[in-house]
């Protein structure tokens, strides 16, 4: 670590602590951000980056510690206070209002009083747009925008409110590489104007290409800081402790066609699914790539029988699955693992034991002793940290995922996994894939979606690229590379 003489910091975080129940999300973090620079906060999922930034933005209250702005101690109770002091945050999940128009979204948070000065705001909006090189039309409803455009809108709004400390939480997830370029250019412009930019990311390449200085977080603590030029290996070591070992992937040739879709269309998500044709074969691992909400979710739910197509043919092996419901699909050996664990996959309010009973005790009467033994086996084999009586919502994300994996049938024909490693730390993710690969020996086809290109190349045999609800590429992983895939995802096929 080298120490430079620096200009006085715009923002200082001193010894920040944050506890959620028994979890220590932040443990004594001290950081300085200087104006006119782009500062990166690097760390893997769950390292405590978002929590720290939400504290700085006033969204979450710290347990202990001090925040100083231009050398003055401040204390936020709400985002309103932080934004008055010029701190604005672009959240990871968009905090906008899909049913309202772009202009209305732009105005919420910065209007008061009795009159809507639509015209004045529209002018301000348009001049900001041109300054940063964004092109957005004020009257479109926000639900029609791509994630990247929603992000642009939010940045415009923050700047319009006089933000001089701009925090961006994982801004490059789910946007096209073209939009990423636009974003990075805009951020450089803003930094040159003297604003303080804080970029939160778990992607090394983003931080490398944009930031002037990087702080790395791991398990809620700062493990190191570095100025440009960066040493990627050193940063990786700060992130993970040790450089992770790659996954062993058995080579197995694909088998007979299993799932066949011909010209299938269905509504849902942002784009729906439009005239999709695809074949999934036995023993294959197929990745569904694409921007968030480009049709992958609809594809999965169609293949799981949870949603009905409005047109087209969907077949499992030789059998047409028209008008069949999810239960019929399950009987054919289709298993689906949704990404929203507590919303779609598990049942909050029920314990692990009750989940096990629900899955395996099929008679009229529930034999709790049998269920208890079974639950103990699940907990042991899948290394779930928790006891049978614990309600599932009190388990950590990784343990919830393990519990869901434990409910997969022994030899499914088709496994549908929606972002199976989302929110898991690297080691848990490796464990999940290691477990999933074992299914291929039982002729199972594995279909998964992911927004991490590295993960896709690590595990997939074949990749289907979704764009605006259509499959625009169907390619073997060995025949492409990360750059080609990146541009395909952005629609430049």
């Amino acid at each position: 670590m080298r120490i430079h003489p620096e200009p006085p910091p715009a923002v200082e975080l001193v010894d920040i602590h944050k506890r959620y129940g028994s979890v220590n999300a932040n443990q004594g973090i001290t950081l300085r951000f200087r104006p006119g620079a782009i500062h990166g906060i690097l760390g893997e999922n769950g390292a405590g980056k978002s929590t720290l930034m939400k504290i700085l933005a006033g969204f979450t209250q710290k347990t202990r510690g001090r925040i100083r702005i231009h050398g003055v101690d401040v204390d936020f109770q709400a985002p309103a206070v932080a934004s008055r002091l010029g701190i604005g945050m672009l959240y990871q999940e968009p905090v906008d209002f899909p049913v309202l128009s772009v202009l209305e979204n732009f105005m919420i948070g910065q209007i008061r009083g009795f009159r809507l000065h639509r015209k004045a705001f529209r002018e301000r909006f348009e001049s900001l747009c041109t300054r940063l090189g964004f092109s957005l039309s004020p009257e479109t409803p926000v639900r029609q925008l791509t994630p990247g455009e929603r992000q642009q809108l939010e940045i415009l709004r923050l700047l319009s409110m006089g933000t001089h400390v701009l925090i961006l939480d994982e801004p490059t997830t789910g946007i096209s590489s073209f939009q990423k370029e636009t974003l990075f250019k805009a951020l450089r412009t803003l930094a040159q104007e003297g604003k303080t930019i804080i970029l939160v990311s778990h992607k090394l390449e983003d931080v490398e290409s944009l930031c002037d200085r990087v702080s790395v977080l791991r398990h809620g603590k700062i493990t190191g800081e570095m100025e440009r030029p960066f040493d990627p290996n050193a940063l990786l070591k700060m992130m993970f402790g040790s450089v992770p070992s790659p996954l062993k992937r058995p080579e197995i040739p694909a088998g007979a066609p299993l799932l066949i879709l011909r010209d299938v269309s269905a509504p849902g998500d942002r784009s729906g699914l439009k005239a999709c044709s695809a074949i999934i074969r036995e023993k294959e691992v197929v990745a569904l790539a694409g921007l968030e909400g480009s049709g992958q979710g609809v594809f999965m739910r169609l293949a799981a029988g949870l949603r009905a197509p409005v047109s087209g043919v969907l077949r499992l092996r030789d059998e047409g699955m028209h008008r069949k419901d999810g239960i019929a699909f399950q009987k054919k050996g289709v298993a689906f693992l949704p990404t929203a664990r507590l919303e779609e996959g598990l049942i909050p309010g029920l314990s692990i034991l009750e989940h096990v009973a629900l899955k395996y005790c099929r008679g009229f009467r529930v034999h709790w002793n049998v269920a208890r033994d079974q639950a103990a086996r699940h907990i042991r084999y899948f290394r779930i940290k928790g006891d049978p009586e614990m309600p599932v919502e009190s388990l950590s994300g990784g343990n919830q995922q393990r519990l869901m994996l434990s409910f997969l049938p022994d030899a499914p024909a088709l496994l549908l996994l929606e972002k199976p490693t989302r929110g898991l730390d690297f080691e848990s993710a490796l464990w999940v894939w290691d477990h999933l690969f074992r299914y291929r020996e039982k002729n199972t086809a594995v279909v998964f979606s992911s927004s991490e290109l590295e993960e896709i190349f690590m595990v997939a045999d074949r990749i289907l690229v979704f764009y605006e609800g259509a499959v625009i590429r169907d390619i073997r992983a060995a025949d492409t590379d990360i750059h080609e895939l990146g541009s395909a995802i952005a629609g430049k096929a």
Binding site: P79, Y91, P98, L100, I111, L116, P267, A308, V310
Partner: protein, 328 residues
């Protein structure tokens, strides 16, 4: 029917719609902010009783009306206390309050049953009331009817044409996002719960002070709160359309009275319950229209297109899901 009879009929429709109109507008306001006040049916009765009692004691219909509005706001405050402050289910609290407010109205109103008290009298608006057709239908009423008419425009303009209205809609759509943008969602929800309750109280006053004057058990306002709640859905959470629903309902009610005279063989009981199957049927159509499984681009193929367009409004996304302090 002659022309003057028709005018009389429509004039009756406009006057008769006032309570249900006020209640539907109030509830629209509350639900736009993401809060369901399910206690309407009881609140209206309690407010009607208080309006009549206060008007009787003070011999002032105006004071009665004010008291009713305050009672409406008070019951709404109870909804706010239990749901916004204590985090209980809005449906549960609203339902208990429906029954409790109704019984409280019967209990406290007992001494005032079947008495003759003050009423709102018609105040024709000079000049406007002389306009042919429109004049007698719209401008020969008491001031509460005018207030109801004005409230439609006021609510619409407030929700869609002012910054406060924009913030109101934002909170109802996503309180977390509104919080992130510097709003205080809980405070805004409190404000609109109280405002909505105020209007619902006014609806009660409209019942006991001119539509069904006096107090008794039953008063005759029983069930209208539920109709008003259904009208909010019917109106797609838009004040203008909710108002249209209120007038349509009032029209059907008046028509029912005429029909009853024409076809004496059908028992009166059938007409009394007729609004409710009608309500279920309308909600069925609305549910069908708002169903997301019909893709937007496919809608033009359907014969019911026009009908679907009318009912395509969507509920505020965060309706009935209050923001918990722990969830931030």
């Amino acid at each position: 029917m002659s022309g003057s009879e028709w005018l009389l009929l429509f004039s009756g429709v406009v006057a008769g719609a006032t309570p249900i109109l006020l209640a539907a507008l109030g509830e629209t306001l509350t639900e736009k902010a993401g809060v369901i006040n399910l206690s309407l049916d009881g609140t209206i009765l309690l407010a009607a009783m208080v309006a009549f009692a206060v008007a009787f004691e003070t011999q002032s219909a105006f004071l009665g009306c004010i008291a009713a509005c305050l009672v409406g706001a008070l019951v709404a405050a109870a909804v706010g206390l239990f749901s916004l402050k204590l985090g209980q289910s809005q449906v549960a609290v609203g339902f208990v309050l429906t029954l409790t407010a109704r019984d409280l109205a019967y209990f406290l109103g007992n001494p005032y049953a079947r008495l003759h008290g003050p009423q709102f009298s018609s105040v024709p608006i000079p000049i406007l009331s002389d306009i042919p057709v429109l004049g007698p239908v719209l401008f020969q009423h008491n001031w509460m009817v005018y207030a109801g008419l004005g409230m439609i425009v006021l609510c619409w303009a407030y929700i869609y044409r002012t910054p406060m209205g924009l913030r109101l809609r934002a909170v109802g759509e996503d309180p977390r996002a509104a919080f992130a943008r510097g709003e205080n969602p809980v405070r805004l929800q409190w404000i609109y719960t109280l405002c909505g309750g105020f209007l619902v109280g006014a609806a009660g006053a409209a019942f006991s002070l001119f539509v069904k004057p006096g107090w008794g058990r039953p008063q005759g306002a029983e069930g209208t709160g539920w109709i008003a709640l259904a009208l909010v859905i019917f109106g797609g959470w838009h004040p203008m359309r909710a108002a249209a629903g209120a007038y349509l309902f009032s029209f059907l009610q008046v028509l029912g009275i005429y029909f009853q005279g024409w076809i004496p063989t059908v028992p009166a009981q059938v007409f009394q319950v007729a609004p409710f199957p009608l309500m279920i049927f309308t909600l069925l159509i609305i549910a069908y229209a708002q169903r997301t499984t019909i893709p937007r681009e496919d809608r033009h193929r359907l014969r019911l297109k026009a009908l679907l367009e009318v009912f395509s409004g969507a509920a505020p996304s965060a309706l009935g899901k209050p923001l918990r302090p722990g969830s931030l």
